[in-house]
């Protein structure tokens, strides 16, 4: 039984990335409507942020309710550098990421000493402050109306100014992020992070420099979010503060938790579920309840979210994989323990 399930699991782990990459590559051949592509581009951009959040939440066990701030710093960094100073977009993206890393480092040193609710609150406070800076520093950010005329990214003769090229660009970055994250998770750092998640004091007693690891992963996570923000800027080509507020931070946490925070593929599931659910509700509700507006969609969204969390607290991805792996365990008693670890590579 155990052998069977571990073999099956190893099989999934090898085959899944290959299948996903293949499906992603071929998809535009079958359907290249801009509706589908732009949805997938957003799923990609949000996935990058959510994966970075999962590294922080699922592995290091540190919550962040202010990740939209890093995402926004990438977006605004790119926008300001390219629009106001005419910097090359790629260079702008790197500069924004470096700046975000510095801010995350400075913020992280005092913040990561905090625990649980206090950490949640401090990151939340930081997120709100950054959001208010976006809306108030009109000279730089254009205030509430924002900035427009952000240039497209280009590579030699290829300009990423249509959905199909941007789709490939974004998903290459997503797969790179997944690759990097998987490597980190299965390395010495990953083990140290899981130890911190399990018990910080115990990890420290075993000689893990918890403060340094937490800070590193926090900065890395911020850099991923910043890059995703830059990608957003160069896709939409105009920005305003609204997608970078507290609601977005919450939405990122939501996507992460729905997919399951302690996995690298979970975020892709979580982001897709949240985005498709939103789209589906938008389409289905006027049909089911004639005359109903977008408000019903919000109600339904909130309720579905709560229900998923009540009955599958380990997230959809983890929850479904576990149930498929070991259905007997779930026949009578629902999930006794949220499985908090992504299994290590069998050695």
């Amino acid at each position: 039984m155990i052998h069977d399930s571990s073999r099956r699991r190893r099989f999934i782990k090898t085959i899944f990335p290959v299948l996903l990459t293949l499906a992603l590559t071929l998809l535009p051949v079958f359907n290249n409507s801009s509706y589908v592509l732009s949805t997938l581009i957003f799923i990609g951009i949000y996935s990058i942020v959510t994966i970075s959040l999962c590294l922080l939440m699922g592995y290091a066990g540190q919550i962040s309710l202010g990740h939209a701030a890093f995402y926004g710093m990438g977006a605004y960094g790119s926008a300001i550098l390219t629009v106001k100073f005419g910097v090359n977009p790629w260079l702008g993206m790197v500069a924004a990421a470096v700046f975000t890393a510095l801010v995350a480092w400075a913020i992280g040193i005092p913040t990561l000493k905090l625990k649980e609710h206090y950490l949640a609150l401090a990151t939340l406070g930081f997120g709100v402050i950054i959001y208010i800076i976006f809306t108030q520093e009109t000279e730089w950010t254009g205030g509430p109306s924002g900035l427009n005329g952000i240039p497209y990214l280009s590579l030699g003769k290829l300009t990423f100014n249509n959905d199909i090229s941007y789709y490939y660009l974004v998903w290459i970055v997503v797969l790179l992020t997944v690759y990097l994250a998987t490597n980190i998770v299965n390395s010495r750092i990953g083990r140290a992070l899981r130890a911190i998640h399990g018990s910080e004091t115990a990890a420290e007693a075993m000689g893990v420099n918890t403060a340094a690891y937490k800070l590193q992963i926090f900065v890395l996570s911020a850099v991923f979010a910043s890059i995703a923000g830059s990608l957003y800027s160069h896709y939409i080509t105009m920005i305003n503060p609204s997608p970078f507020g507290f609601k977005m931070s919450i939405e990122f946490v939501l996507m992460a938790v729905v997919g399951g925070i302690a996995s690298i593929w979970g975020p892709l599931v979580g982001v897709s579920v949240v985005i498709f659910l939103t789209q589906f509700l938008r389409d289905a509700i006027p049909y089911l309840i004639p005359g109903a507006g977008g408000e019903v969609e919000i109600v339904a969204f909130g309720l579905i979210l709560a229900v998923i969390m009540i009955f599958m607290p380990e997230g959809l991805f983890r929850g479904l994989v576990d149930r498929w792996d070991n259905p007997a365990r779930y026949r009578k008693t629902p999930s006794p323990l949220p499985s908090s670890m992504w299994e290590e590579d069998e050695s």
């Binding site: 939440m57 919550i63 005092p110 913040t111 000493k113 905090l114 625990k115 649980e116 609710h117 206090y118 949640a120 609150l121 401090a122 939340l124 406070g125 930081f126 709100v128 402050i129 208010i132 800076i133 809306t135 108030q136 018990s199 004091t201 115990a202 507290f246 609601k247 919450i250 946490v253 939501l254 938790v257 925070i261 507006g293 408000e295 019903v296 969609e297 919000i298 109600v299 339904a300 969204f301 909130g302 309720l303 579905i304 979210l305 709560a306 229900v307 969390m309 009540i310 009955f311 607290p313 999930s335 006794p336 323990l337 949220p338």
Partner: protein
């Protein structure tokens, strides 16, 4: 610095502060009894206010409106505990945060559905609108708010210190495990905590509406500020909520008056972050050891 203006800002801050304190009481009671940070707390404030606005259209007297609204939200809080919190027994901290965020999104959506995006108002509780005192212009509604909150806090004090049920809740707040060993049922205490949270939230919403207007999206900021107040006060006691709330309200009001009104929310959170860095357990926090 004009003393009249200073006084006016201080009073405005005090009023805002007691409102935050009422909301913080909800956070603190629920957190200490159940270990959950209830992000739907702000929606109780909004729903209480909106319900009061609707009841006012039927020309009910204001005290009755206040009572109905508080009772209805206490009931909503209990419903939330039964339907959303109780079924998720083994959930982790983050999961409970997400569940309560889900509920809060649903409640906000429901409010949007029922009341739309327009802001509504209630008339002030008495016909006289303002008075001058030492050069400061004071809204009479402010005095009403202070009086009603004072009354509410006196009621809470009586409940927690003098009644058997209140002492049982307090016992859960101090040590849930010991309380359970003494035969206190944690489920009914949790239900009661949510009722208190709903009721106090609604009270805050109804009394502040004549000053700030009520709209479907008011819950988010009120909820966040209430949370900040709760943490400033140490997240552990009702007097702490009052001190944290008033401190936050006054700082916010002075910041808006003397520094920048655009940055007033940022200032509140900046102070919060600074205090967390210096004194991570809140200003009145208990000293706790690390648990392995």
């Amino acid at each position: 610095m004009d003393p009249g203006q200073l006084l006016q800002l201080l009073i405005a801050g005090l009023v805002l502060g007691v409102i935050y304190a009422l909301i913080a009481v909800g956070f603190i009671t629920v957190y200490n009894v159940t270990g959950i940070i209830n992000f739907a707390q702000g929606e109780f404030v909004m729903l209480g206010a909106m319900l009061a606005v609707t009841l006012h259209k039927y020309h009910l007297p204001l005290p009755l409106i206040l009572l109905i609204s508080v009772a209805a939200m206490a009931l909503t809080g209990m419903l939330m505990q039964r339907l959303a919190i109780r079924p998720a027994k083994s959930a982790t901290l983050v999961t409970f945060i997400i569940i309560s965020i889900g509920i809060s999104i649903a409640l906000r959506g429901a409010a949007l559905l029922i009341w739309g995006t327009n802001p509504y108002t209630l008339p002030p509780f008495s016909s006289q609108t303002g008075l001058e005192w030492l050069g400061a212009h004071i809204q009479v509604q402010s005095l009403w708010i202070l009086a009603i909150t004072l009354f509410a806090f006196a009621g809470l004090f009586y409940f927690f210190e003098k009644t058997y049920t209140g002492k049982a809740v307090k016992a859960c707040v101090i040590n849930p495990n010991a309380a359970e060993l003494m035969g206190i049922n944690p489920q009914s205490m949790s239900l009661l905590a949510f009722a208190i949270a709903g009721g106090m939230g609604a009270l805050a919403g109804v009394v502040i509406t004549p000053i700030t207007l009520a709209s479907y999206d008011m819950g988010l900021m009120f909820g966040l500020k209430g949370f900040v107040a709760a943490v400033l006060g140490g997240l552990s006691s009702v007097p702490g909520a009052l001190i944290g709330g008033v401190l936050l309200g006054i700082l916010e009001s002075l910041g808006a008056g003397y520094i920048s009104s655009g940055y007033k929310d940022a200032l509140a959170f900046l102070i919060l972050v600074l205090i967390l860095f210096v004194k991570p357990d809140g200003l009145l926090g208990k000293i706790r050891g690390n648990r392995v």
